[in-house]
Amino acid sequence: MIEINPLVIFFASIFTNNMIMSNFLGMCSFIAVSSEIKTSLSLGQAVTFVLATTSVLNYLVYYLILVPLGLEYMRFIVFIIVIAAFVQLVEMIIERYFETLYYSLGIFLPLITVNCAILGVSLFMIIREYDLIQSFMFGLGSGIGWTLAIVAMAGIRKKIIGAKIPKGLEGAGITLIITGIMALAFLGFSGIVQIQ
């Protein structure tokens, strides 16, 4: 275990170690859904929820099952299966029992089953040897950071809606360029807290 205050990890994963801006993980839904502020906020919430829960779940699976049996190298496949099954289960439950939640969040769940930011968090927390609390804070913070990035991007895309963009750069192209510039801006946070 390494000695970092979980709160530091929490803030670092929002700003300095943002999943999108510093690791470029979870890009596909980031680019596809960032055209509407409201929709991206809902997707961000779904990602945050799934990240916070699967980081704990995968932590338990890893340290209670894989490590005692010496199967650490199987973590990739196990993590993916756990995430996929968990998301599917949550979707079923929400759709059936929490109607209002389903409309704001549930319809986005299938979109993020295969979001690489989620697998990324589970793998990073193992590599960086976080404990349970740290892992949870890392998952939660990464989710909030992801939400922050996608909502900011949706805001920017709303602003440039009438801009004259060269035809070849419309849509995903200009979004990627903006992401790059945003990543530079996020780099400015790197003095605040640092992990890794």
């Binding site: 929709t39 010496g70 199967l71 199987m74 099954a85 289960l89 079923m92 759709e95 209002t100 319809i107």
Partner: protein, 366 residues
């Protein structure tokens, strides 16, 4: 050796456990049982719950128009849900106007059947079916418009009203990796129940038109769903004003052929516009119709005739022709067909000439 066994057993165990969990959840949580859908207050369907409304209806052979295949990106599959169906989803908002939203209009490909529902759909959709046609012929009418005749297998028939349209299914081909449905008006007479004829103009990078123009050959099979549309021949004694440009001639042709078959002697004037003489087509058929229908008059105009055209007829747009030849339209009704720009510029002229708005029928080709 033992490591391998443990690995396999553990991973299988974890996966099996999760699979079990999900199967149980699927049987209990996600099992909605049979649900009833009441359509237009009269027809009741029993469907398996949990599916989208669109696929539940298609399973029951009720064909709601849909061009994107349930991805929520075309907005064609609207139905009015009066009971059940829950709230409107974020994925639908872009296609449903605030007024429609009040009426309960939903995209049926997004709305799921999770309780008993009551819906309203246009009555004509009940007669919509899927047909497997084969291509009897493909002819070039102009360099950019093809004339297709599709024939049904023995013993099958299609019933439609003169002026309605069908959707053809363009399969995947080299250069297009998805199946698309596109709508085309029927040009043949509804009396001819064994076949439909279509005029298909080439649209640059259009998936269905490229398929028809470059890949579809005679004798090949083509899936058609239809008929659709609320633009069709109206029974009355009023004088008829018909306006079309380009492939917009198709539904007009169907109406004229229908009138010929039923010996309807209403006064008809058909204003047909094209750019150059090269873009004119089916002129012999219209010629023949003029002979067979004594009260039918054709006004053809070219907007940009060139030297080569050798054109001695009218020059200008259909709107110019209406200004020139149509005097009092208060007792007449109009059938407009073609690009939205044409339709939108013709309607005010007709209203100016005294035609009541409810007698103007149109079909915009987009």
């Amino acid at each position: 050796m033992s490591t391998i066994v443990t690995t396999v057993l553990t991973i299988s165990g974890i996966t099996g456990l999760l699979a079990l969990l999900l199967s149980v959840a699927n049987k209990t949580i996600a099992n909605y049982g049979e649900k009833k859908i009441l359509i237009n207050g009269s027809k009741e369907l029993v469907v398996e719950g949990g599916d989208t409304l669109l696929s539940a209806l298609i399973d029951q052979k009720v064909f709601i128009p849909s061009a994107c295949g349930g991805k929520g990106s075309c907005g064609y599959c609207k139905v009015t849900v009066t009971q059940g169906g829950g709230e409107i989803l974020a994925t639908e908002l872009g296609y449903v106007t605030p007024k429609e939203r009040e009426e309960g209009v939903r995209l049926s490909c997004q709305c799921k059947v999770r309780e008993d529902m009551q819906i309203q759909i246009p009555e004509e959709l009940f007669s919509v079916k899927q047909y497997d046609y084969h291509v009897a012929f493909i002819k070039d009418l102009t360099p950019t418009i093809k004339h297709l005749r599709l024939e049904l297998p023995e013993k099958e028939e299609i019933e439609f009203k003169a002026g309605q349209y069908v959707q053809i299914l363009a399969p995947k081909y080299k250069g297009s990796d998805e199946e698309v449905y596109r709508a085309y008006s029927i040009a043949s007479s509804p009396m001819d129940t064994k076949a439909v004829e279509l005029y298909i103009g080439y649209v640059k990078e259009g998936k269905a038109t490229t398929y028809v123009h470059n890949f579809l050959k005679e004798k090949m099979k083509l899936t058609v769903v239809g008929p659709y549309g609320d633009f069709f021949y109206q029974d009355s004694d009023r004088e008829m004003v018909m306006v079309a440009i380009g492939t917009g001639m198709a539904p007009i042709m169907s109406i004229l052929k229908y009138m010929r078959s039923n010996n309807i002697q209403r006064k008809v004037t058909f204003y047909f516009g094209a750019r150059t003489a090269e873009d004119l087509f089916e002129m012999e058929t219209l010629e023949q119709l003029q002979k067979d229908l004594p009260n039918f008059k054709l006004v053809t105009c070219l907007s940009k005739p060139t030297e080569k055209c050798n054109w001695t007829g009218e020059v200008g747009r259909v709107t110019d022709m209406l200004q020139k030849y149509l005097s009092d339209a208060s007792g007449a009704e109009a059938y407009l067909c073609g690009s939205p720009v044409m339709v939108d510029s013709v309607i005010p002229i007709l209203k100016d000439k005294g035609m009541p708005e409810e007698h103007i029928y149109y079909d915009k080709f987009e």
